[in-house]
């Protein structure tokens, strides 16, 4: 049977067919759908872990104890999981362990475009790169075989265009997988110096064997065609090459680390001009160059952003394929949704002239004009540590003008330890948790405080107030962010306080609330065109010339605009 699947759905299907026992993840674009789809298979245990490090640790436990396991994350998630990553390469895995990492060249939904290939090289872990959904599925099955044959974790590196493209996949029956036997073996699984030294020898041997064997691996393929141009490529770049240079000879690498030296040398010797075509840093190219092979693409491509058929064609031929320039049009940046519970808080921050260290989530959008609610965004959890750092360098008085802003899911992911730091090291910072009861930006995934598992089953609810109280925060306020007067009051009060405090602005994401309140309308007789409501950046409020109006199909009835209107010109529609 054939089905049209996203690359991410195909990874999930591959996990199912490979007989995976356990799947873990923390959501992150462009990887999120992998584990969402796996969760639909009844016979696979799936979970949203609190963060990627925990997800990988759960996965290691599962694999070592004998069940095939898959763990998924976005590229920056691998930074969080890097600690266990480097050492599981030493211990090996017992049952197969596949780590799917989705990179985001072009930064469609990310804060950087780091390249996961370097992790494979740094941690001594093989990396596979599928180029479409069929390969995504096939490579998962192959990765499990590789993982068990060489007793190593295997990384599958996806990119946005493979993860979020759909193509046709042939579905197969799942393989029955029995649990592998678990044997206690401290020389293999207890990585203290004496044992780790012995395991490092095994790691080096394993990588040498993998490098040798990669020359004959089925996923590294040569397509012989016109020999005047030879191209070494992998992943989505392969598809672009096939589209614009159909006659070129190609060495398509399914495994990009370790690289098949013999195969590369043979291929290079059969073509007149050799190019390496890859997105981001020249990872394969540098290796080929280090082998003393001359390549024509040296320095030809940027390390920034994505490739395209047009870019490849023009770089290789010096000719433009389709020359058309875009029209000049205003941009359309993403915005907070109508009724978003974060909006009022940002409005208040601006009004009170507060600075904020920000974090990763929908609320990062509040950095843009006109809300301009945050000063920084670095990584998951950074807001809390950073606001503490600002206090320690600029002093207590200055700290009254700063807060840390973080979401509920992000706080659980990696904000908790920052808060412990503030208490332990006698900080006085105010931390604001924008609690919308979900992981919003990635499309509403549950987390430990939502009371539901990934499979929709009821789960114990992490009580944020009790947790924060246990950390040692004495001043905790829980406020409805729709109550704008209260929002301002509590922000003023807590930022002045000479003790650490946490304000939880609690209201579910507007997209989760099924029942819509009646929309609002602007009374044109009362409106004085002061434009104060425009400062909310609500997509439902529009302006035509001087006239302001509310699109009633977009308005979600939150009433924030009515609350801040000085002339009572905004009222709720009645039937």
């Amino acid at each position: 049977m054939k089905e049209l699947l996203l690359g991410n759905e195909a990874i999930a299907r591959g996990a199912y067919e490979a007989g995976v026992k356990v799947a873990t993840a923390y959501p992150g674009t462009p990887s999120t759908e992998i584990t969402e789809c796996i969760a639909k298979y009844d016979n696979i245990y799936a979970e949203w872990s609190p963060n990627e490090k925990v997800a990988l640790e759960v996965a290691i436990g599962s694999a070592i104890s004998g069940g095939r396991t898959i763990v998924s994350m976005k590229h920056v998630g691998l930074n969080v999981a890097a600690d266990p990553l480097f050492t599981v390469a030493y211990t090996g895995v017992n049952a197969g362990l596949v780590i799917v990492v989705a990179d985001d060249p072009g930064m469609h939904s990310s804060q950087n475009e780091q390249n996961t290939r370097y992790y494979g090289k740094a941690a001594n872990i093989p990396i596979l790169e599928p180029s479409d959904s069929q390969e995504a599925k096939d490579f998962v099955i192959f990765a499990f075989e590789l993982s068990e044959k060489y007793d190593t974790p295997v990384i599958i590196r996806m990119t946005t265009r493979v993860s979020h493209s759909q193509s046709i996949v042939e579905l197969c029956e799942p393989q029955g997988q029995k649990l592998k036997e678990y044997k206690k073996d401290i020389s293999k699984y207890v990585m203290m110096p004496g044992m780790a030294k012995a395991r490092h020898i095994i790691v080096e041997d394993r990588m040498n064997n993998l490098a040798d064997d990669s020359n004959s691996m089925s996923i590294n393929e040569v397509e012989t065609n016109d020999r005047s141009v030879g191209i070494i490529t992998s992943g989505i770049s392969y598809q672009y090459v096939k589209e614009v240079l159909p006659n070129a000879s190609i060495l398509k690498l399914g495994m990009v680390y370790p690289l098949p030296d013999k195969l590369i040398r043979e291929f290079a010797s059969t073509v007149d001009k050799l190019y390496v075509i890859e997105e981001l840093e020249p990872f394969i190219e540098e290796h080929v160059k280090s082998m003393g092979i001359e390549i024509a693409s040296d320095g030809l491509f940027s390390i920034q952003g994505e490739l395209s058929g047009n870019i490849i064609y023009s770089k290789l031929t010096g000719k433009e394929l389709n020359k058309k320039s875009p029209a000049a049009v205003p941009g359309r940046p993403p915005v907070l949704c109508p009724g978003c519970p974060h909006r009022g808080v940002y409005y208040a921050l601006k009004k009170l002239k507060l600075h904020a260290t920000g974090d990763i989530g929908c609320y990062t959008l509040g950095a843009l004009p006109p809300l301009e609610g945050i000063d920084t965004c670095i990584c998951m959890g950074a807001s809390i540590g950073m606001v503490h750092g600002i206090e320690k360098t600029r002093g207590r008085k200055e700290t009254e003008k700063w807060i840390g802003v973080i979401g509920d899911s992000t706080f659980i992911h990696s904000g908790i330890t920052g808060l412990i730091d503030i208490v332990y090291n006698k900080g006085i910072s105010t931390v604001v948790i924008l609690d919308n009861s979900t992981t919003g930006m990635t499309g509403h995934q549950d987390h430990p405080a939502t009371g539901k598992t990934i499979k929709g089953e009821p789960a114990p609810v992490l009580n944020l107030v009790e947790l924060i109280s246990a950390i040692g925060i004495k001043n905790i306020k829980v406020v409805d962010p729709y109550d704008i007067a209260k929002v301002e009051e509590v922000l003023m009060e807590e930022t002045k306080r000479q003790e650490p405090s946490v304000i939880i602005f609690s209201r579910p994401c507007a997209l989760l609330t099924k029942k819509k309140e009646k929309p609002f309308t602007i009374d044109q007789n009362k409106c004085r065109h002061c434009n104060i409501c425009m400062g909310l950046a609500c997509p439902a409020i529009t302006r035509d010339g001087k006239t302001l109006s509310i699109d009633k199909t977009l308005c979600n009835g939150c009433g924030l605009c009515a609350d801040i209107c000085r002339f009572n010109a905004i009222e709720r529609l009645v039937d």
Partner: protein, 193 residues
């Protein structure tokens, strides 16, 4: 056969993903190779969104290159203009003549071009303007504007109507099948080409 390239553009939340999935599944059921590329994550929040749909005997890249779209379906006028350089020299622009102001326009830091339809037309080999939102609204559900636009598209492509209707039925929520089929037919009958 060369691939058929259809670019679907609009504003996050308008239902462009569903439209692309209907076309993709239809093409697969008719025996074509299909690839599509979607946008998830940040830009879905009211931002400019684009979906690529390609089908033919064999499709390699999931992305449509600049100047190679046979058809662009634009759910909004400004988005039609934004992506118009993707249209091929003989391509057709199908545009829902709805206007949705982006935030910079609302804030007064940018202007929505007043002659947007003229500019779209001057940049398109053919342009079909549809009042899809009002057609959908008259049917009683703004959301079916995507199936109205699919109806307009269906007239431009050589795929049997009964397969179109089956694909619509298979991909929309079961409660909305009837209204979506109506919307599709309305769209199909709009097109003068």
């Amino acid at each position: 056969m060369a691939t058929t390239n259809i670019l679907i553009v609009g504003v996050g939340g308008q239902g462009t993903l569903l439209a692309s999935r209907i076309i993709g599944n239809l093409a697969m059921d008719l025996g074509y190779d299909v690839k599509m590329s979607e946008v998830h994550g940040m830009s879905q929040r009211g931002g400019s969104v684009v979906t690529h749909v390609k089908y033919g005997n064999k499709v390699f890249s999931p992305l449509i290159e600049i100047g190679t779209a046979d058809i662009i379906i634009a759910f909004e006028k400004l988005e039609a203009l934004r992506w118009s350089h993707y249209l091929s020299d003989t391509g057709t622009m199908i545009v829902n003549n709805q206007r949705i102001d982006p935030l910079p326009v609302i804030l007064g830091t940018a202007h929505y071009p007043t002659d947007v339809m003229d500019e779209i037309k001057s940049r398109s080999f053919r342009c079909i303007e549809v009042d899809a939102l009002n057609i959908a609204r008259n049917l009683g559900n703004d959301k079916v504007l995507n199936t109205v636009l699919l109806g307009v598209l269906a007239k431009q492509l050589d795929m049997p109507i009964k397969n179109w209707l089956a694909a619509v039925e298979a991909n929309v929520p079961s409660k909305t099948i009837a209204i979506n089929k109506k919307a599709f037919n309305e769209g199909y009958n709009q097109s003068i080409w």
